[in-house]
Symmetry: C2
């Protein structure tokens, strides 16, 4: 176990002081004080800049190499067993020239969730120490996060330092409930946070909360809610809180831009993969590919955005039409018939072109060139609160969503061999290497190493990044098939599904 | 080929006269005149009531049996080769007691699509006759529709008589485009309807329509649109037009209630399955089940409805909350914490109960008991324009959608054996018989008949309905496993994927 966030939580919840490890104002001469004790998530490495790949805690020599953009050095931690929990493999490369520093950021932690302290309890009650007491166990989760920044690395850096703390915070009320085999109570007493699990389950408290009102006999229906769906709800709300914090503190912390976020939580035997953006997660199990996320782009979310544009036309600023057309319409084409799609359609149909159709389409372009209001190519993520349409006062943020889609994989349902892995990658990987190719590279690399060699996952991640970056030739960075290599930042996690007990 | 709708189209497009075969006002002493010539879709059978199962054209003796609700007679056409195109099997049963007549309605047709007549062309130009000329071929599609009515059979009856005509109408501009192997033109001249395909493709017309404007160099992007997506768009828009027609004519035609609609179009080698509601279509191919639809219910569409409730809170009439709770909250629970989900969440989380949370949830209940505003259990379909929350002035229709989800199955991509079928069923079937059981029954029945026996599909449909209805015992209608049989109307199509050429 590396990182522990127990004391750091107070800073997050307080919401006033600087969050642990978050970016200070640029006029601040020194980074914020690092909380005492070794904690991988409490702050950036001493002296590390906030736009640097702080996650790997590289030496100064390595950082210097990382700044050599022309070389596009692929980096991975030299001692993965010390740096990363669960023998995780990780590698990244900085784009050559697009940005000065890596806009991708990463995080990997073991987080201990302490019960929330009630206002009525003692200043440092035993419940808040996270120690086991009276049969109640600590709750901890493993965490991996990838953050692909755009328009700067500020949001990505901040989210990489804090998102897991928000997830931790959302889980604090659930410590006992998640570890109790009975179904979660639908209703809790107002001061439930300070109560041990046993009291929540006491007949009196339960009767008080759950007894149906005889005056309302038609409302006796009760929906069963699973433990799993509480964790999903916690992760969803953590993304919202993270986005709100970026909004609140973006000026003081000078957090520019936004980021896609792909976060993995391993908790009580299940892997929760939360994705907001165009990063991707796949599981490779016995050579089979299991998609663990989908991408949120102007094309995949077209109908949601058009629906909003129809219901709130003022958000389109009289400059955009909610209709999609397969190309721009010219004024001289008025009266002709053009293919279109509205918010209800998956197919296309012809419509007579009217004056209003000459506005720029809310969604326009195809594939990687698709944009919302001609501006942004992803539709979910964190940040972007100041993003506007170029040369206008039209805000993009209302069309973006910070809500992830969470998929769950039950580790206990399968026997996993050491070659079964979860691969996380930013779009720099997936733009040039498809799922099958990624699975083949991983399988090929892992076969060359002993099953208990913890370096094998790092080498697999390294190899994925190297092959997607390509080799510098006369006509630029080229893949093995001579196609252009990814020109984007590339970050990859390779996480063995055997878990921490098996290979560390 | 049974039904042809060429002349009937004029009535639909005109939009003023009574649509062919639609329900007349109830004070009308006689049904509307049936257009001359044999056409399965031009009108109801002579003397047939509009709430009767007109589709099967049963004899009076059979109709009498159908009225014996206690008996719940399963009906299927005695001579399927004469009644149904493509050797389709069909069977239905009327619910015992819930309604006086069958609220399920069905339709099965072969529809010829004639080119739309331009206002500038001659009164009866050759293009409008639907006959092949100058290498341009007629376009025709096979069609099957299931309509599960609620709050009356009026909308189901009207949709069963007219939806395929609306699909036909939407396809009329596409007759030449769909049969031309080159990609559909993105833009058409304004009078394109009357032009033969050759002129649409002429270099001059194409250049005029497609030449990019040099003043807009950044807008040169063009999205390729497939023929398939034009058919999807046509079906989607046909559902909208059908819903608009029900809205316009519901008073004069006394069309009560609404209906789920499941429609299948076979056109140019592909099967398009369009579903709006909780009916279901599956393909059984070599024993494997391929889902061809999904159900649209308060549970599956919760987030869409909540999103609308948040953006248009006035639609909730100050009576409903957009939040979902797992049970009703009582006033005395104010201040406690309750599980909830908002429009962004798939998981659940606790929130402190406030005054506003005491309102009734927009979505409430589970499974078959789930309801929108405590009123309706399906969220897509046709009709329901007058549906209101009980004892209030709150309209439900804004939350309902008439837009189907269209899935496509390319018949030419596979070799089909005579046992490969597409099964359509209303929820009366699926509520008590799951996909696997349906596939097993179909396989079992088909094995008992010669592959070229056209009755085999009718027997399969009959058997599915009988088994889902059950047998009348002391404790009601019971299935083979002694569970309660479906208490709903049940309608089933079994359509061999070998197509019309193979088995008719």
């Amino acid at each position: 176990m590396l990182g522990r966030v127990r004391t750091a939580m107070a800073q997050l919840v307080g919401g006033l002081g600087p969050a642990p490890g978050a970016q200070p104002p640029r006029d601040s001469p020194a980074p914020p004080p690092v909380p005492p004790g070794p904690s991988a998530c409490r702050g950036p490495p001493a002296g590390g800049g906030f736009s640097r790949p702080a996650f790997l805690q590289l030496t100064s020599e390595e950082l210097q190499r990382a700044d050599d953009h022309a070389g596009r050095v692929v980096q991975s931690p030299r001692e993965s067993r010390r740096r990363l929990p669960w023998s995780t493999g990780y590698a990244e490369v900085i784009n050559a020239g697009k940005s000065q520093h890596n806009e991708d950021q990463a995080c990997c932690e073991v987080v201990v969730v302490d019960r929330r302290c009630s206002p009525r309890c003692n200043p440092v009650p035993k419940e808040c120490t996270g120690e086991a007491e009276g049969g109640r166990k600590d709750l901890c989760f493993h965490y991996w996060g990838l953050f692909d920044g755009h328009a700067g690395s500020g949001a990505a850096v901040m989210a990489s330092k804090l998102l897991h703390l928000h997830i931790c915070d959302q889980l604090r009320d659930l410590v006992d409930i998640l570890q109790d085999s009975s179904p979660p109570p639908l209703c809790l007493p107002s001061d439930s946070r300070a109560l041990p699990a046993e009291r929540n389950r006491a007949p009196l408290a339960h009767a008080d909360a759950e007894l149906p009102n005889d005056a309302l006999p038609r409302f006796h229906l009760e929906k069963a809610v699973s433990h799993e769906s509480l964790v999903i709800g916690a992760i969803e709300n953590a993304f919202k809180r993270m986005d709100e914090q970026i909004e609140r503190e973006r000026t003081t912390r000078l957090v520019a831009g936004g980021c896609c976020a792909l976060a993995v939580v391993y908790l009580l035997g299940k892997v929760y993969v939360a994705n907001a953006g165009d990063s991707r997660a796949i599981i490779i199990r016995n050579g089979e590919i299991i998609p663990m996320s989908r991408e949120f782009t102007p094309e995949t979310e077209r109908q949601r955005l058009q629906f909003l544009g129809v219901l709130r036309p003022e958000l389109l600023g009289n400059e955009f039409t909610h209709l999609e057309f397969p190309r721009r319409i010219q004024h001289k084409e008025l009266g002709k018939k053009m293919l279109y799609r509205d918010q209800n359609m998956n197919g296309w149909a012809y419509k007579r072109i009217e004056e209003d159709d000459l506005k720029f389409p809310l969604i326009y372009g195809e594939g990687k060139k698709a944009r919302v209001m001609a501006t942004i190519g992803v539709t979910r993520g964190l940040g972007d609160h100041d993003l506007k349409v170029y040369n206008s006062n039209i805000h993009i943020k209302p069309f973006l969503s910070c809500v992830p889609e969470v998929r769950v994989y039950d580790l206990t349902q399968y026997e996993h061999c050491p070659d079964d892995v979860l691969v996380l990658g930013t779009d720099g990987l997936w733009d040039v290497t498809n799922d099958r190719e990624v699975a083949d590279v991983v399988t090929e690399v892992l076969m060359g190493y002993e099953p208990n060699d913890p370096c094998r996952y790092t080498v697999a991640a390294y190899e994925l990044v190297v092959r997607s970056r390509g080799v510098l030739k006369e006509r630029g960075w080229r893949l093995a098939n001579d196609k252009l290599g990814s020109g984007d930042d590339i970050s990859v996690f390779v996480i063995p599904l055997g878990g921490p007990g098996n290979y560390t």
